[in-house]
Symmetry: C2
Subunit: 460 residues, 2 copies
C-alpha cells in the first residue's frame, strides 16, 4: 500500500509555529563541545524533547568525564526498526564579529533562521521531532520502531562514540540508519549520500638542533625544516601519486552502479571552480572524470606546515623544529591502521627514523552499496516525494569516525537523505571553518523529513 502523507503534512502546516519553537529552543541553548559550554543543560533539553515526543530515553555513557549520548526508543507495532543519528553539540561560534545576530539568540531574517547549530545539526533534530509528532498526532501508534541516538561530541571528532557503539551495540540494532546531512540538489533532486571516506590524520615532527640557531650556522647544523621537506617530498610524486608502497593495494574499483550514479549527477564544474576560486582542477579534469576522481581517489593532503619564522620580513634563523599535519583520505577497502603501518615502514626504509609520527585521527571508509535494500527503499520514497530521480553520491570526500564505529560494531546499512536537513540550499558563503549555514527553510525541511519517516507507513 502506498504511503499517504497528506494527513501528517496537513498537521505540520497547521503547526509550523511549534516546529519553529522547537528549533528555537534547541538553538537558544549553547552546546559547544570544544569549550564544554552548555553541554549539561543541552543533554537535559535533548532528553526532555525526546521524552515529550513519546521516546523512552536513557543516557549512554562510556566515561562520566565526557558528555553522554542521548538515546531514545519509540516502540511501534511492527518489527521494522529505523535508527536515527544526530548530535546535539555545535562548533564554537568564533569569530563572533562575523555574526550579524548573536549565535545563540535565534533570529529570523528574510524568512531564514539564523543561529549556531540551525543547520548542523539542531535543525535536523527539530525537523525529525516535528515530523514524528505530526505522525503520532495523525496516526497514533507508529507502525515501526524508531531508535534515536543523539551524541554530544561530533564536532570534536566523536572521541567516545566508538566505545559507546561497542558498549551499547544491542540498543543500536536496526534495519537501517538515517545519518545526518544531505538534502536536495539545486534542481530539486533528492540527494542521497551513501558513504564517507576514511581518514588517517598524522602529525610529523622533526627536531634538529635543540634550540633555534642563527642561520649563519647552517653549513654545519642539521636542519629540521629540510628534513621535513625531504620526507614530505618522498611521500608523493609531483603528479600526486602516493609513493608509500602498498598504499593503493586495497583500493576497490567502483562498481558499475556507483559509476552510473556519478554519471547521473549534474555537472557542477563551473560552480565548484567559482566556489574554490580556481582556474582549473588537477590534471585539467572535468565532468565525469572529475567526479570519479573526487569520489574514488584516496589522497595524501598537507593540512598544515610550520617551521621557524613565519611573520613579516626577515629573520635569519635555522629552526630547531618543523611540523607537518597530513591527512590521508581513504577509500574502500583501505584501512587506516594498515596505512599507518605502511607509512611508518616507508619512512623507516627511507632513513627518516628521526621523524616522529603521531596519530591524531583514524577512521575507516564507510560505504553502503547502492544495491542494498535499505538504500532502494529510501530512494523509492525520496523519488516519490520529490517526483524527481534521486542523485546518489556513492562516497563523499569527508570522513565521519562515528560512522566507521557504527559500521564496525553494529553493521547497519545507512545513508544521508533529504529530511536530514543538513547542508540545505542557500547560505554556505562563510569560511569553511564555520560549519553552520545560518538558514533553515522550516516547513520544507519538516515536510521532507516527514516523507522519510513515511518509511514506516510502508510497514502499516
Amino acid at each position: 500500500m502506498p504511503p499517504t502523507p497528506e494527513l501528517p503534512i496537513t498537521y505540520l502546516n497547521t503547526h509550523a509555529d511549534e516546529a519553529i519553537e522547537l528549533l528555537t529552543q534547541l538553538c537558544r541553548q549553547p552546546s559547544i563541545a570544544a569549550q564544554n559550554n552548555g553541554i549539561e543543560a543541552m543533554t537535559e533539553l535533548t532528553e526532555q524533547l525526546l521524552s515529550e515526543s513519546g521516546f523512552q530515553t536513557q543516557r549512554l555513557y562510556y566515561t562520566s568525564k565526557a558528555p553522554p549520548a542521548i538515546y531514545g526508543e519509540l516502540r511501534g507495532r511492527g518489527p521494522y526498526t529505523l535508527l536515527l543519528y544526530n548530535h546535539y553539540d555545535v562548533q564554537p561560534a568564533e569569530p563572533l564579529d562575523l555574526w550579524q545576530s548573536p549565535p545563540f539568540e535565534p533570529t529570523i531574517r528574510e524568512g531564514k533562521f539564523f543561529a549556531r547549530g540551525a543547520v548542523d545539526n539542531k535543525g535536523e533534530i527539530a525537523a525529525r521531532l516535528a515530523a514524528i509528532r505530526a505522525l503520532r498526532a495523525t496516526y497514533g501508534e507508529l507502525p515501526i520502531t524508531l531508535r534515536w541516538i543523539i551524541e554530544g561530541e561530533e564536532e570534536i571528532g566523536s572521541p567516545h562514540f566508538e566505545e559507546i557503539a561497542e558498549k551499547y551495540t544491542e540498543l543500536l540494532q536496526a534495519d537501517g540508519c538515517l545519518w545526518e546531512g544531505a538534502g536536495f540538489t539545486e534542481e530539486g533532486h533528492p540527494a542521497l549520500n551513501l558513504g564517507t571516506k576514511g581518514l588517517l590524520y598524522v602529525q610529523l615532527d622533526v627536531q634538529g638542533v635543540g634550540i633555534d640557531a642563527h642561520s649563519g650556522k647552517a653549513p654545519i647544523l642539521p636542519s629540521a625544516a629540510w628534513r621535513l621537506v625531504q620526507a614530505l617530498a618522498s611521500l608523493r610524486t609531483p603528479a600526486g601519486q602516493v609513493r608509500i608502497p602498498g598504499f593503493y593495494a586495497a583500493v576497490k574499483a567502483p562498481t558499475e552502479a556507483q559509476l552510473e550514479a556519478l554519471m547521473q549527477q549534474e555537472n557542477k564544474d563551473e560552480q565548484l571552480k567559482a566556489a574554490h576560486q580556481v582556474e582549473q582542477f588537477v590534471d585539467g579534469l572535468s565532468g565525469m572524470a572529475l567526479r570519479e576522481r573526487a569520489a574514488f581517489a584516496p589522497t595524501c593532503n598537507i593540512a598544515g606546515l610550520n617551521s621557524g619564522y613565519t611573520g613579516e620580513g626577515v629573520k635569519t634563523v635555522l629552526p630547531a623544529r618543523a611540523m607537518a599535519k597530513i591527512d590521508f583520505r581513504l577509500v574502500p577497502e583501505q584501512d587506516p591502521h594498515d596505512i599507518l603501518e605502511k607509512l611508518r615502514s616507508y619512512l623507516h626504509a627511507q632513513g627518516y627514523d628521526d621523524i616522529n609520527v603521531s596519530v591524531l585521527g583514524a577512521a575507516g571508509p564507510v560505504v553502503t552499496p547502492i544495491e542494498d535494500p535499505f538504500v532502494q527503499k529510501i530512494q523509492r520514497i525520496a523519488e516519490a516525494f520529490a517526483d524527481k530521480p534521486a542523485r546518489i553520491t556513492p562516497l563523499t570526500g569527508g570522513s565521519l569516525p562515528l560512522l566507521d564505529a557504527l559500521q564496525r560494531h553494529v553493521g547497519l546499512p545507512g545513508l544521508s537523505a533529504p529530511g536530514n536537513v543538513g547542508y540545505w540550499g542557500v547560505g554556505h558563503t562563510r569560511p569553511m571553518n564555520i560549519f553552520d549555514c545560518p538558514t533553515w527553510n522550516a516547513p520544507f525541511a519538516i515536510t521532507a523529513t516527514c516523507s522519510y519517516l513515511l518509511i514506516m507507513l510502508e510497514h502499516r
Copy 2:
C-alpha cells in the same frame, strides 16, 4: 718606535667612573629603530658625545624619513686615517618579562653592566669614546685622523646605508676601517674577524585555491602546500648540495693563509654541540673539517615554513596558501643578484612559474685578505697588547649588508678586532633573537679599545 700605552691606560684606570657614566648615558636612552622609539633623542646624544670628544660632527641623511647616521672627524697630525663604524640603534627589548632589570635602566649586578645595547653596540661606542678621551688627555693632538660613522638602522638591516655610503663616499675614505664586533677568545687570544658572508633572503609564496578548502576536496583541487614542498625539495639534494645550476660556479677556494688561520683556531666542537644541543654536526664533521665547512660553505637554509593549520590537534583543511622563507649565505665571489637570477631561472625551468619569489634581503660577501697591510698592522698591535697570537676568522657565518655597501662604494680594508667590545666573554645565554649579552667588563674593554687606537701612536 713601539707604542707606549702606559699613559692613556693610567688615565683610563683613574677615570673608570667617567667611562661607566658614558655607557650609562648611552644605554639609558632608548633607540629602537624597529619601533622608532627614542631615535631622535639618541641622534642628539650621539652627536653631542662625539662633539665633546673633539670631533667635528654632521648628520648624514639619505632621506629625511630615516634616522641620520652621525658622522665625526677628529683631525690629527699625520695623513693616516682610520674609519670607525658603529650603530646607535638597538634591538627591541621584548620579551620584557625575561629582563631582571628594565632594559633602559642600566644596572650593575655582580660587576656586570645590564642594559639593552650594553654590548651591541653602545658598549663599543662608550669604549671608543673613553679611549679617545684618554688618548687626547695624555697626548694632546692625535697623530692620525679618526673618522667615525655611527648609523641608526643597523638592527633593521641598514636599509639606507648603501645610499649614504654612495652619497658621502668622500667622508668615508680612510686607510682602513674598524668594524663593530669581535673580542677575545676564552683563552685570551685576540680574535680578528675579516669578513662576513653574503645573503640572499627570499620568500616563496604559492597560491593554490582562492580560499582554504575542506580537505575532502583534495583529489581535485591544487595544493599550494604540495607545490611548495616539491619546489623546495628541488632546490637541494638530501645531502645538502644546492641544485640550482651555477650556484657554486663563482665560489673561490680559500687561500692557504685562510686555511692556516682556521688551523690555528681552538677546537670548540664540544662547546658548539652543547650550545646548539646537537649530538653531531652535518656529515659527522669535526675539527678542522668542521671549521672549514662553517667558514667557506655557501648555504640554502629554510628559515620559515607556513601553510594551513598549525595549531593543536586536527583541522582537515586544504590550504589556499603556502610560504617559505629561504636564506642563502654566499661566499666570495658569489653575487646575490646573480644567485637570484639563477634561482628564478631554475624554478622556471622546473615548471614552478606559479611560485612567487620576493627578495627580502641581498648583500654580497665581504672579506679582507689576511695579507692586507691593514690586517697585518692590527694583528701586530693585537698580539703585542695581548701577548698572545691572534685567532683569525677569515669569514664569519653572519651577513652585514652595510659592510657590503661600504666595500662597494668606499672599498676599505676592514675587520672586527678586540676593543670592538662586541660579543665579549660571558653572558650569551639568551635565545638568539635577543641580541644583547647584558654584560660589559668596562675597564678591560676600554683598555683593549685603547690599545687599538694605539695604531695612531705608530704614526707619531
